[in-house]
Amino acid sequence: MDWSWIPEYSDRLISGFWLTLQLLLMSATMGFMLAIPIGLVQNTGPKWLSMIARGFCTTIRGTPLLIQLWLIYYGVGSLFPDIDGIRESFLWPYLRAAFPYAVTAFTLSVAGYTGEIMRGAFAGVPKGELEAARAMGMSPFKVLVRIWLPRAVQNVFPTLAGEFVLTLKATPLAATITIYELFGRSTEIRQDTFRVYEPLLLVAGIYILMTAVIVVIFRWFENRIPKPSIA
């Protein structure tokens, strides 16, 4: 084992680390934002909207993320250059870069998996609490923000933490569409230095550390929010 290459490549590894973190945080946040309405309409929405949401979750959960990523980057991405005038528009620099496609794919994936979790979470909140909130004169939106959503999140918090770790573990896929996040950097270093294992082992160690930090942070939050009274 030879680790003497680390100082020379530390800058690239650090930039890869930040890119991984950005991918993770952006797609987890936006995915969760999407997951709330997806879970909600399956509980209260009109039938057709609820069917669309269910179909979306089934499709996302039933196909490999790698295929979704390639479908969005190579497939959907190949349609844009044919649109007239798009090369002159302000959108073009974003449509040409790989990063927005990766964020889109991961966001949709998080939305699909977390939407399914939130559907169960919303359904698990006791009806009486929502009725009580309504009886207090809260508007439907207030009921959602003050009672329904907090109680739902409280019930599934550990599951959401697990989903966050799964998203972190999915980010290396972005390397297959030319994004130099942490794993992509390790591939680059391997090609440069002809070291087969060491760069892989190093990034594996970094991923383990990141997972551990995520678990600790979520556990800290979990201990701060009151335990659900009705399991």
Binding site: G62, P64, L66, G75, K169, L173, V196
Partner: protein
């Protein structure tokens, strides 16, 4: 778009046959890896529950590390490390170095990863079996082996099935990752077909549809198995 649909058909401008071959290969790898994972999981769970302390630690390290590292990194590590270790071993015994086929390598690598998840699922299921049932078996004079084979394993299956069906869905989707190493399976054939015909959207949509069908069919099968094993039990 629609005139290019014939690219998915079996006759020659179509790539239907190679997609089909890729699907068969994907299913073979998934079934093999799943079975290997179940075997590792069964022994891993028994070891975690009943094994001596050093074995418990080893298994704990195995399941924790495997579940914390991204699958893509694991696949590369295990593939390179595994083939290198095997060839070193063959050389030291004086044999020719072997070229492991993509199919076998894929099964071994994914099976090893699945084993860690299976171990946790089966361990939890075994712990959910009421202690009295195994104690009763031992009171009847069954040996440890008999009580495991006749009582513990059949009794834990209903508890393990939801987790195990989930693992099957995960392994079918994880086979797509093997495309990154270039093994022959569905995602690889799709990528090659898409690149050579320049119909990216068409082929990736087709791939998504094939994987989705595989998942939906698996769901139906697993629901039947679950219903069968849950006969006479209270609904959960």
């Amino acid at each position: 778009m629609f005139e290019s649909l014939q690219l998915l058909w079996i006759e020659t401008p179509g790539r239907g046959l190679s997609l089909l071959a890729g699907l068969v290969s994907t299913i073979q790898i998934a079934v093999g890896a799943y079975a290997l994972g179940l075997i590792i999981g069964l022994f891993g769970a028994l070891g975690k529950i009943n094994g001596p302390a050093p074995l418990k630690w080893l298994l704990e390290i195995y399941t924790t590390l495997i579940r914390a590292v991204p699958e893509l990194v694991l696949i590369l590590l295990l593939y390179y490390a595994g083939t290198a270790a095997l060839n070193n071993m063959l050389e030291s015994f004086g044999y020719e170095t072997a070229n492991i086929s993509g199919l076998v390598a894929g099964i071994l690598v994914l099976g090893f990863v699945q084993g860690a998840y299976s171990t946790e699922v089966i361990r939890a299921a075994m712990l959910a079996v009421p202690k009295g049932q195994v104690e009763a078996a031992q009171a009847f004079g069954m040996s440890r082996r008999q009580s495991v084979l006749r009582i513990l394993i059949p009794a834990m299956i209903p508890f393990a099935l939801p987790g195990l069906s989930n693992l099957w869905l995960i392994v079918t989707k994880d086979t797509a990752l093997l495309a990154v190493v270039g093994f022959f399976e569905l995602a690889t054939t799709v990528r090659e077909s898409a690149a050579s015909t320049q119909k990216y959207l068409l082929f990736y949509l087709a791939a998504a549809a094939i994987y989705l069908t595989l998942t939906l069919v698996s769901n139906v099968i697993f629901r039947r198995i679950e219903n069968r094993y849950r006969r006479g039990q209270a609904a959960v």
